[in-house]
């Protein structure tokens, strides 16, 4: 791969050849400040879901990196993402988590903005400004690009960034697993009402790398497996298809996205699940059959934890959730967790899944709790002068990834490691930090869109 660097970002901090990554990138104040500039101001970030703002004038608070933003639908129905800060003196123009409005009026000096971001009201415009303020220049700061992808709203502050589909590259099908219906119909997922938001004392990259596909941390969750919170109300915490499918680590090397993926054997049906809940079991059996009919071979793919660079986590199996790891200083992360169900699912199914989601995920989730304890104290124990001298190791599976893997006729693009037998690799983390280092080093998107270089080189030959 032409863009691979063995040593990246201030040589020695991210050393992919040896699989060693310095603790500095997690705990260092200056590196954190640089991340805000080089990563969060340039990458595509998840902002919310269109189902949160169905009607004109609807808005919901969100965040992009450290910035507070407003996701809203204007009176004409168009979706916008604005910086939640008055252009005059910076006050938040809205401090409600959600609502419906025709204007956002700043409580400080009274500037008001339409839901399309235009500055529509300036007190003493004639008297104090002599009607000379160019109001067209002082609307709310809007993101440079926004994309409504099957209801998921992503945005970036960088006008030079590639389009969102190009940013996703071959990762698109894994976001599809998240946003499409279980029966394979496009964009049928809807958000359950209520976004969980909570603070964890760790660097944002701890959850990001965990959701990139850390299959090595089974010990973390042994207690929840013993307590038995599976989807049927007992047993292991997840579903049975893991026992019959190929389990892969899939990394899109030039994009920095990565995921765990289950691929069902050809011609084999997904094992029956939720046996203790007949309505639910029936619903999913119906969806699986529909999916096979609609997608054919595509129905063999079953999603799992994954990460869109830099801080959007996917989990397209159950519990079906997305999360955003908002940086709040090098030592703190504000986690936002969104939960999905099929729009058309019977309410019994939605309620059943909701119960499972709450007991599994989030701060009261019996699985996620133990993750956060690890991120908390791993971070805390990495801050000392001595601790920082000793890098973490990400050596598992170095040099064993297969480019464009194939399993029983199913082609899986990217760098892939089959972890069915070997259980674990650290390819996803190396993939994440390779991209992280590229972002930290590159001056602009011309350098970051590495796939275009390769395409150009190929065309020249």
């Amino acid at each position: 791969m032409g863009t691979a660097r063995t040593t990246g970002y201030h040589p020695g901090l991210v050393d992919l050849a040896s699989g060693q990554i310095s603790r500095e990138i997690f705990v260092n104040d200056e590196i954190y400040a640089e991340e805000q500039e080089r990563i969060f101001a340039r990458a595509w970030l998840f902002v919310g879901h269109a189902s949160q703002i169905p009607n004109p004038g609807d808005y919901v608070m969100s965040g992009m990196g450290e910035e507070a933003v407003i996701l809203c639908r204007d009176r004409a129905g168009a979706v916008h993402v604005f910086l939640n800060s008055c252009r005059h003196r910076g006050m938040k123009v809205c401090r409600y988590d959600e609502g419906n409005t025709s204007v956002f009026t700043c409580p400080y000096h009274g500037w008001s903005y339409g839901t399309d971001g235009r500055l529509v009201g300036v007190p003493y415009f004639r008297e104090a400004y002599h009607s000379k303020l160019d109001r067209s220049r002082w609307g709310l700061v809007e993101v440079a690009q926004m994309c409504n992808y099957k209801g998921a709203i992503f945005a970036t502050w960088d006008a030079q960034a590639p389009s969102f589909p190009e940013y996703l590259g071959d990762f698109t099908r894994y976001l599809d697993l998240q946003l499409d219906g279980w029966d394979g119909r496009e964009g049928q997922a809807e958000l359950l009402c209520g976004v969980q938001k909570w603070l964890v004392p760790c660097n944002w990259k701890f959850p990001a790398e965990n959701f990139s596909g850390d299959t090595y941390h089974n010990i973390s969750h042994r207690s929840v497996d013993l307590a038995g919170i599976g989807p049927s109300g007992s047993s292991r915490r997840d579903l049975g298809e893991r026992n019959v499918s190929r389990k892969l680590h899939v990394c899109i090397p030039d994009r920095g996205h990565q995921t765990i993926l289950y691929v069902m054997p050809q011609g084999r049906e997904t094992p029956v699940a939720y046996q203790n809940a007949p309505i639910v079991s029936e619903y999913f059996a119906h969806c699986e059959a529909e999916k096979r009919r609609l997608l054919g071979e595509g129905a063999r793919l079953i999603g799992a934890p994954g990460e869109i660079f830099p801080n959007t986590a996917l989990l397209s199996r159950q519990p079906r959730t997305m999360a955003v790891w908002h940086p709040r200083g090098p030592n703190q992360t504000e986690c936002w967790r969104y939960y999905f169900v099929d729009k058309d699912a019977p309410h019994e199914v939605k309620e059943f899944l909701r119960d499972y989601y709450i007991r599994y995920s989030g701060p009261a989730g019996m699985t996620e709790q133990d993750d956060m304890e690890n991120w908390n104290y791993a971070h805390a124990a990495s801050r000392g002068t001595i601790a920082r001298r000793h890098p973490y190791t990400y050596e598992q599976g170095i040099g064993t990834a297969v480019r464009d893997y194939e399993f029983e006729g199913m082609r899986v693009p990217g760098d892939v490691i089959d972890i069915t037998e070997i259980q674990s690799s650290e390819q996803p983390m190396r993939n994440l930090y390779r991209r992280w280092a590229q972002f930290m080093e590159a001056d602009d998107w011309e350098q970051l869109a590495t796939w275009r270089h390769n395409e150009r080189a190929a065309a020249a030959e």
């Binding site: 401090r95 409600y96 988590d97 959600e98 609502g99 359950l192 009402c193 209520g194 976004v195 969980q196 938001k197 909570w198 603070l199 964890v200 004392p201 010990i219 973390s220 042994r222 207690s223 929840v224 013993l226 307590a227 038995g228 919170i229 109300g233 504000e334 939960y339 309410h347 939605k350 309620e351 909701r354 119960d355 989601y357 709450i358 007991r359 989030g362 701060p363 009261a364 019996m366 996620e368 709790q369 133990d370 956060m372 304890e373 690890n374 908390n376 104290y377």
Partner: protein, 181 residues
């Protein structure tokens, strides 16, 4: 019944209910979780909504709804028992080593007693809580809010049939909720 008798009945009930709630807090703080579970009615609903900032007059949108929405907690006894079981595995890292927890229960108010104060079979009671959690070395959480409980008499003893927990926070300031309210 005379006015005086009525007041005495109220006083006795208030005292009885407060003692029950303090005793419950004692069990939790002493980590006697199995005994605590025994205080819960089999059909208990244990619900802790999330809270949103909403405009004045839109109060009904402030709380996430039970059953349909995502909440911090919204579950029955089976899940609560599994939470206890998880702590008791000794490898639930978020509670291992175990936290030091103190429940302060105060402002206990009887809202309703049925069929009567003198012969109460069900009591709806409000209180304030302050939960202090300290764990490992310096990690400390303070959670303050209100509780609305429905207590039911079963074989002469109070059982908790419903608990609504109203935490006075928007973004949860604690990394997890591994303990009981």
């Amino acid at each position: 019944m005379s006015d005086r008798d009525d007041r005495i009945s109220r006083l006795l009930l208030a005292q009885d209910v407060a003692e029950f709630l303090y005793g419950e807090a004692e069990l939790l703080d002493e980590r006697r979780h199995d005994e605590w579970l025994a205080l819960l009615a089999d059909d208990i609903r244990y619900w802790m909504p999330m809270r949103r900032n909403v405009k004045f007059g839109e109060g009904e949108r402030e709380f996430t709804r039970s059953v349909t929405d995502i909440n911090w907690f919204d579950e029955g006894k089976d899940t609560l028992a599994r939470r206890v079981k998880q702590i008791q595995t000794g490898i639930h890292w978020a509670e291992e080593p175990q936290s030091r927890i103190a429940h302060l229960v105060t402002n206990v108010q009887i809202i309703e007693a049925s069929p009567s104060v003198a012969d109460a079979r069900e009591v709806s009671v409000k209180c304030r809580f302050l939960i202090y959690r300290n764990r490992v070395a310096t990690e400390t959480d303070l959670l303050v809010g209100k509780r609305e409980d429905l207590l039911r008499r079963e074989n002469g003893d109070w059982r908790i049939a419903r608990r609504k927990i109203i935490l006075d926070q928007n973004v949860l300031l604690s990394k997890n909720l591994t303990f009981f309210f």
